[in-house]
Amino acid sequence: MIELVYFAWVRERIGAASEPYDGSAATVRDLVNELRAREPRYDLVFSDLTSLRVAIDQELVDFDAPLTNAKEVAFFPPMTGG
């Protein structure tokens, strides 16, 4: 079981801050494709991956990263701190 967490406009457009994922996707990209096929709101959010960032267990990774042993996968727009 992986916890999916969303921030900023990703959270708003998906309409949830987090949700459990129980599937068998091997990489972040596989997971994204699975979500996109699920419902239009996911398809819309993940339509342009260059406008998104992803972290596995609080570490930034790229979309081809494997989900092996992942506990938490976070999706969010590029950060705007400082």
Partner: protein
């Protein structure tokens, strides 16, 4: 190293003095303070800062450590706020202490460039009652890339 992520306001002067007082053997303390800036028309009502609680402290600590490995620093302080702020409010501060000013200046700038585009914060502006997520700027990415 002191990293604080908080919603409460803080006093930059008090923090700077406390940070400076801790280090008797440094020749330089550099501080940067980030403030909520109003837009040109004066119509920014508020700025809301969201963050990723499980990641924020850890990510900033890692980069503060990178700065300490790269420059000759005695110490690093980062305080970053989240929640709803208004124009004029202090958002964050960075302070670096070193024997020599070049290390303190460069490390402070490196940390700022990092915080802008790699620390997990997202700003939402409220302008005339309408919310809008602040978009990341290529300029900030370029600023970070120069440290590679």
């Amino acid at each position: 190293m002191k990293i604080q992520v908080q919603s409460a306001p803080f006093n930059v002067g008090d923090e700077t003095n406390a940070f400076t007082d801790t280090h008797k053997n440094v020749g330089a303390v550099v501080t940067f303070t980030g403030i909520v800036r109003d837009d040109d028309c004066g119509s920014l009502d508020a700025m809301e800062i969201e963050h990723y609680p499980a990641m924020t402290h850890k990510a900033i600590s890692q980069h503060a450590q990178t700065a300490q490995d790269r420059w000759n620093l005695a110490d690093v302080l980062v305080i970053h706020r989240y929640g709803k702020l208004v124009p004029g409010d202090v958002i964050m501060m960075v302070a670096t202490a070193a024997r020599h000013r070049a290390d303190a200046f460069q490390a402070a700038e490196f940390l700022m460039d990092y915080l802008k585009s790699r620390a997990p914060f997202w700003k939402k502006e409220w302008i005339d009652g309408t919310p809008r997520w602040v978009e990341a700027k290529q300029l900030d990415e370029d600023a970070l890339a120069r440290w590679d």
